[in-house]
Symmetry: C2
Subunit: 614 residues, 2 copies
């Protein structure tokens, strides 16, 4: 909190101005959620103008307190707060929702004070926890404030964050819940029962206090009380509020969610808010101490010592590489969902426990925490079984929108995991990650390429997905081979190649076996290891298509939609006749080799496909 508290009249005046600007901006835009802004305006005023310490001239100052608007539909209130802090102009706020405005309908990092896009509800607390953990890791004394709606507390992700924040004693994390009792379409589940909210948080290990969210003495004191009594616990202020507070036409009325005040009614509405309530001043109070964080290109110099012919699971090579890049690059940190002995991220835990965060079985929170860490300059590697990343697809989608610098590794991809059965097989992960804009999707076939691709992922700014395999595979590449994003490797070629087989990961090895079988039948084939599924190496693939008379087989341990096969189809267009081998039904438990065979992606099926094309 500020050294000199702001006068309550000033806070009231700020809130009055936040209300006016929220109303004006949404009416001007013709859409938006003013009633959701009005319920939170008093909380927002106290948080921004009494609680938080930040330098309004420097969004990147590492010592700034952080703010996350989890109830992202109240974006106009956030833009108004930035206006009242002198960060943007009032005129900017009135461009809300216009095509060329960075002040969008829901917050996105196009506005530089916003770390992560919000608006898909229930994610802000996890993002805030990511900030809070970064503060602990870096030893910087900033706090993180998260403003949540009451309705979004029905999202399980909120409780994932709540449990973990308590586990990590995130006493620098302040949540405020705007309990206005009204959802989008009806009363919320817990309505105005602020005690129920508080008791839930207490059961999850938080310090919780309940207040009237429009009573300034109570709001100011609530944060004070959190500081006095919160101890090592994360803390939450549960505030009973009224949706549309301050405007009689809207106040506590259903049917006004997501609706601006109609233009003709605006003057009358603003009239109710016309009387100044105190002095309109804002004295920024940034922390004086200087903190610096690593900047610039990541250091990714590592040495790989695998020998050709040796056998190793790519998931294990991922763990090896994680240790090596973490040792060179201080920003690298690993997050695990209690699968570290399977993904091999535990290698980093064992080598450098301070660079590892156990997130337990809560994938949604894990991904949002990673976004919060990335926003504070970390390079987080999130790993779990490929299939369990589907649990966090909304979070991954939002990471895409946020252009977040998060790395993902999904192990146990495909039917090749074997006996654990379909619920444990990642068979839609390539489709999922390919459909994230600006994402990079990597799928190594051996230990060397895995290590190099971890390096590439660390170096690349943006979302990268690395897909690893459960069984061991032989090392194919010399340890100094490079694997640039967007590239591929031609593993076999001759001028006589009749068919090009494009594979990735486990199927590269099936393709090599198929080539050996076909060799005895004097049918040479070209083999391409498409380790970069997105961007795909269009040039090499087109060349192979041309050299083989347009005969292409693609084989992947993934469902037939959205994976490598579709990437290749997009690359070749009508320049080749593509035969796609992929998993086409719900698989069973069984031995890996038997499953590759049964689901049509083994060496035998590649041989058949080649013959079919000839």
């Amino acid at each position: 909190m500020k050294e000199m508290p702001t006068a309550i009249d000033t806070l009231k005046e700020k809130a009055r101005r936040l209300r006016i600007l929220s109303l004006k901006a949404t009416t001007e835009a013709g859409s938006g959620h003013p009633s959701s802004c009005l319920s939170a305006a008093d909380l927002m005023s106290v948080i921004f103008f009494n609680e938080m310490r930040f330098d309004p001239k420097d969004p990147r100052n590492p010592a700034n307190d952080r703010f996350v608007l989890s109830k992202g539909h109240a974006a106009p209130l956030l833009w108004a707060a930035y206006a009242e802090a002198g960060i943007v102009g009032e005129k900017d706020v009135l461009t809300l929702r216009q095509l060329d405005s960075d002040l969008e309908g829901h917050p996105t990092p196009r506005m530089p004070w916003v770390d992560v896009a919000t608006g898909s509800l229930g994610q802000g607390l996890s993002v805030g926890l990511g900030n809070a953990l970064a503060a602990h890791l870096d030893g910087i004394p900033y706090n993180t404030y998260v403003l949540l709606g009451d309705g979004e507390c029905a999202e399980g992700s909120v409780w994932e964050a709540a449990a973990l924040a308590s586990y990590y004693k995130a006493s620098n994390l302040y949540a405020a819940i705007d309990v206005n009792g009204l959802g989008q379409s009806q009363r919320t589940m817990d309505q105005f029962d602020v005690n129920r909210f508080a008791n839930k948080f207490r059961a999850f290990g938080w310090f919780a206090t309940t207040i009237d969210g429009h009573n300034y003495a109570e709001i100011v004191e609530a944060f004070e009380q959190c500081r006095r009594e919160g101890g090592s616990q994360p803390r939450v202020v549960v505030a009973k509020t009224l949706k549309g507070k301050g405007v009689s036409m809207l106040e506590n009325r259903d049917g006004w969610h997501g609706k601006p005040v109609p233009k003709p009614d605006l003057p009358k509405v603003l009239e109710e808010l016309s009387k100044p309530l105190g002095s309109n001043e804002f004295k920024p109070n940034p922390r004086k101490a200087e903190f610096s964080l690593p900047q610039g290109e990541p250091n990714v110099q590592i040495t790989i010592s695998r020998q050709s012919g040796e056998s190793a699971a790519t998931r294990e090579a991922y763990g090896d590489a994680l240790v090596k890049v973490a040792e060179k690059e201080p920003r690298v940190i690993a997050l695990d969902g209690d699968t570290k002995n399977s993904t091999y991220s535990e290698k980093l835990l064992k080598a450098h426990p301070e660079r590892f965060l156990e997130m337990f079985i809560a994938e949604q929170n894990m991904v949002d925490v990673a976004m919060g860490l990335a926003a504070r300059g970390k390079i987080p590697f999130v790993s779990t079984f490929a299939c369990f990343l589907t649990r966090a697809y909304d979070q991954i989608r939002v990471a895409g929108i946020s252009r977040s610098n998060v790395k993902f590794c999904g192990s146990h991809a495909g039917v090749s995991i074997g006996e654990d059965g379909p619920s444990q097989m990642g068979l839609e992960d390539l489709a999922m990650f390919r459909a994230v804009p600006e994402s990079v999707v990597l799928y190594p076939s051996d230990a060397v390429s895995t290590e190099q691709l971890v390096v590439e992922a660390t170096r690349h700014r943006g979302i990268c997905y690395i897909r690893t395999t459960r069984p061991k595979t032989p090392v194919l590449y010399p340890s100094n081979e490079r694997f640039p994003i967007g590239g591929s490797k031609v593993l076999r070629q001759s001028p006589a190649d009749r068919v090009a087989v494009i594979a990735a990961g486990i199927t590269v090895h099936e393709a090599l076996k198929a080539a050996a079988k076909l060799e005895s039948a004097r049918t040479p084939i070209r083999i391409i290891d498409a380790y970069s599924v997105k961007p795909i190496d269009t040039q090499t693939i087109l060349r192979a298509a041309k050299d083989t008379g347009g005969r292409v087989v693609v084989v992947e341990d993934h469902y037939q939609e959205g994976g490598l096969g579709d990437a290749v189809l997009n690359a070749v267009g009508n320049q080749a006749n593509v035969l796609k081998l992929a998993v086409r039904e719900i698989p069973r438990s069984g031995p890996p080799e038997a499953l590759l065979e049964k689901y049509g992606i083994s060496a035998n099926h590649i041989v058949e496909a080649v013959r079919e094309l000839l």
Copy 2:
């Protein structure tokens, strides 16, 4: 509970046999999770052989109590319990994890007593809640028992289910938590703190009791106490247990998760369990009362009264159709995530409130509850914004594996939603649903096709996804037109067609505008409304490609990966030069028409694309 309680010695003997069979089966399979079976064996014995009432000869009996093994990795224990109930043979259990065995590594409905696949943790409580709600809706007095692991209680979905079960007073729902304190890779977050688990559930409105999970008097009494004191609350038994209980080599030891006892050690291990503890009898005690549920083909006779030229949003037509099919077909029920006034599912709430379940903002739980309802014969329609279905992708994936008869509707698809911005735009939903095996993906362009496709979805058994649009679009079809799954509509054609434009949803209308513009330039084009994105109408598309010299434009309000464009590429192969128009970057807030224009999928862009191909 049974009228005559089973003797405790008999329950102990049953547990001994469950332990032996779990150990034998996993050692035989060479993989699996015996230690996770052993911790829960005593709970399982009491639940199966003292608590539950079911007819072991009839898995489909509507009055059977239901059991959900949320900790699906303990599958061998479940198979062993079925063996001890006489449902399968001991020999069957020893086929665990073999390629031709329906007793898979994690439970799937290939085994007819299993409703829904488990193994992706944290989903079972929601599925059980779906069963419990079905019991309430149908007035059948069965109970549902869900066995959870402690580690999976970190998943937010568990707390979504917990909150909703309390809201709906699901007193017929019994959860048991096997608190063995050990996760896959380390101690769990809350370790043996059974009170913390109980307090969390109490804060969420449950009746909770804590026990020693290996003390039979306590286990039996815990369920009795739930009945006596649980009132209208859902109830949970939190049991402290030891992982590997009963086998000294495994008991409470880390490092044994997911590992069978090695074959050479098995005799020694079984020796510890060799002494019979009581009589081995099981007297089934099914409910005598007869209950019947609707069977057979759904009744889907509806009348559509839209006029050509009229304008209506497809999302609104979805609501209209929902009311009509629900009035004809008693199994239809709608589930909402507090977006019913946007998806228009609220039309059903208003017309028939008893056919509507408000699930609040908790999409994961919504999807799993729908699976539980579907398993009890309902035809659930789950609707929310298309983008928020990504929140439940893991659940949707598991619905696929479970061949669950759930219908999904995602409204507000694409950039055409306008000013709310990217976090609210569904732009990866087609990719997501296409990658679910056996799924059907439908994308209507007008009110008539929407209503007809709701009919088709109701009739079809399996997962269907219907994508609707926010803005109004003109009615294109006569109200008696039929829209079979797998079909398409040719909206314009002539022998002179130069290019085929394939569109769906909002882009059909852009294509029609483009055709009008091109007509004045004497460039006739064919227009195909590909309302069935999966399965796609390959025949009609190939015919169009042939008729137009292989010139095809595909245009969709979706990211470029995994949507309609890729479906068309797969259909045409090298028979056409396909130009894909799709959203290729992270969109902004703005007016719908401006966004269609900016992101390259408007009529103008279609005209350009057509010209480029000529």
